[in-house]
């Protein structure tokens, strides 16, 4: 059975991954437009779970070039081929 292991050690809960995922799934793919003008606003395909200092991202793992991974400043996610 396939399992997903999360590396919660370095996720800092900034949610930049969610923001960049949302932009990727918006119509314009432009960050300011996606947030300020597009209605309904696009939804991110991943979610950061948080409890106290513990946090980790649950990515959808659909993109081959994933903006969420690129957005992560602490290398808490990586794409393994």
């Amino acid at each position: 059975m396939k399992r997903i292991y999360v590396n919660e050690e370095y996720c800092i809960g900034c949610r930049l991954c969610e923001i960049h995922c949302l932009v990727q799934h918006s119509q314009s793919k432009k960050i300011i437009k996606a947030f300020k003008e597009e209605a309904p606003r696009a939804l991110p395909r991943l979610l950061v779970e948080e409890e106290g200092p513990l946090s980790f991202a649950m990515p959808c793992r659909h993109c081959l070039e994933a903006p969420c991974v690129e957005a992560c400043i602490t290398w808490a996610m990586h794409l393994d081929e």
Partner: protein, 505 residues
């Protein structure tokens, strides 16, 4: 007190057209500067708490935030500067000693910036480090007065017994920063980078976490006045031992790690109760003379079977040269000298900004004195106290150092923005903090890579500078003040530095 007279130090400008209210700034600021109002779906900022660390500016995905110095102008006064007025306000409100992190930020002359390097032209060839070998390897430790060799049928045998030496692949070490003052991840980054680069890092007075014993061959274990974390295994795993007498940021002053930073792991490593303040006395209570220092040096040598170099770290003070001479004669294998601008996790601001002398003058004075006394070979010198780039390294070595310690530069490589608030334990960059929310922000895989990159880049630049001078080994640069010239310095300064003025042949 009802009325606080302090005005915000910084001004936060949020570009309304760019801000998408994503709240990254809200989540990232440990000082609670940014607040999200769910009713307005808008982020507001309380500037009075801002320390100017740029965490929000760096992470903002739309670059909507600008932090600038509050343009509030005090009435111009060359004597009563805004900084002095603000300090008086703060002390009138709190009645306390003001603290600061990092090194002295006052505009004293920076001698490195008044020293220029030489290069070869026509009469002597320069060397291209990309095509020809260039030696940066440095050995720290006591060198023998002479080397005696015996010619035998089998070849040449060296008779002289060498004192233990430290091998550095490049003449740079990470200076003492303790686990406690900085986070575990920051310590781990330093240790791993030291291993990658073949150099050493220093435990500060924080002891050594058992999980980091594997980096022992790249560790200098410090023994300071509080003796925190000192036990037989600590001494055994390290490559060298260092007795800390003083620190450039606070000469004559002890250390104080606030209880908030003494977490369970820090408490275990330092061997003190959790949550208690870790106070290092100003003097070692068993060292009141050079003879006492000699006893401790030899106690440590004895404890480690005379297999490890034992160094002594002192702050650069007025009579640093005779002190260093005494330390050399007391049996130290190296002396680390920390200048006026050396950093700290916490020091009284007034001490940090007013006590000590610049490292450039100190290292030149010590090198000159040890040469005059014919004991320069007995001890290696490490220069510390704001070595900012590879040119500073080259200049420090040409002034007489064997190697340099870098502390602040290493922190900056890991993300430090010099906000000088290390003592609050709220470091937004995850460096000078033990808060589990904040320490995660520094991934040691990233930290160590950035540090190793910095050392690699500086080493390449040092090789370029050496090659330009026509030198192919760092050994040939040591104390080679002929390669330095001063600009804008007076005669006393030039004489102390032991260099000629620019234009003098």
């Amino acid at each position: 007190m009802s009325l606080a007279l302090l005005t915000p130090e910084f001004k936060i400008e949020r570009d309304d057209e760019r801000c998408i209210a994503c709240q990254v700034c809200v989540r990232q600021c440990a000082n609670d500067v940014h607040n999200w109002d769910p009713e307005d779906d808008w982020v507001y900022s309380d500037e009075s708490r801002c320390v100017g660390c740029h965490r929000c500016v760096t992470l903002c995905p739309t670059h909507a935030i600008t932090v600038r110095r509050n343009p509030l102008d005090f009435r111009p006064n060359a004597n009563w500067t805004p900084q002095i007025i603000r300090s008086v306000f703060k002390q009138a409100e709190t009645g306390r000693v003001l603290l600061s992190g990092m090194g002295c930020d006052q505009p004293y002359p920076i001698y490195f910036d008044h020293i220029l390097l030489n290069a070869s032209q026509v009469t002597n060839p320069s060397i291209d480090p990309l095509r020809e070998p260039m030696e940066l390897r440095t050995y720290l430790g006591r060198k023998p007065d002479r080397v005696e060799v015996v010619q035998t049928a089998a070849g040449v045998r060296i008779e002289t017994q060498l004192a233990p030496q430290l091998t550095l692949e490049t003449p740079i070490l990470f200076s003492a920063m303790s686990y406690g003052s900085i986070s575990y991840n920051a310590c781990l980054s330093l240790a791993r980078a030291a291993e990658t680069c073949g150099i050493l890092y220093n435990t500060g007075e924080g002891g050594l976490h058992p999980s980091m014993y594997q980096y022992g061959p790249y560790t200098i274990a410090q023994v300071a006045s509080g003796r925190f974390g000192v036990h037989p295994e600590y001494l055994e795993v390290a490559a060298a031992l260092e007795i800390k007498i003083g620190q450039g940021a606070k000469p004559g002053i002890g250390g104080h790690l606030p209880g908030e930073k003494v977490s369970a792991e820090v408490s275990r490593t330092r061997m003190i109760p959790e949550g208690t303040d870790a106070l290092s006395p100003a003097p070692h209570h068993d060292i009141y003379s050079i003879e006492d220092l000699r006893q401790l040096i030899y106690a440590l040598k004895e404890a480690t079977n005379y297999e490890k170099p034992v160094g002594v770290k002192i702050a650069a003070v007025h009579n640093v040269a005779p002190i260093a001479s005494g330390i050399a004669r007391a049996g130290a294998d190296y002396i680390a000298i920390d200048g006026l601008r050396g950093g700290t996790g916490a020091a009284p601001t007034i001490i940090r900004d007013n006590v000590g002398i610049p490292i450039e003058l100190a290292i030149a004075a010590v090198d000159t004195r040890l040469r005059q006394e014919c004991i320069r070979n007995q001890v290696s010198l490490i220069a510390a106290g704001s070595i900012r780039n590879s040119a500073d390294v080259v200049k420090a070595i040409a002034l007489g150092a064997d190697a340099v310690y870098i502390g602040t530069a290493a922190l900056v490589a890991m993300g430090c923005h010099l906000c000088q608030k290390c003592y609050t334990g709220k470091c937004n960059w995850g460096i000078a903090t033990q808060d589990p929310y904040l320490t995660k922000r520094l991934n040691p895989n990233i930290g160590s890579r950035r540090l190793a990159n910095l050392i690699r880049a500086w080493s390449l630049e040092i090789k370029e500078m050496l090659g330009g001078m026509g030198i192919n080994a760092i050994e040939s640069l040591r104390g080679n003040r002929d390669h330095l010239r001063g600009v804008g310095l007076n005669e006393v300064e030039l004489r102390t530095l032991g260099i000629k003025g620019a234009g003098e042949a």
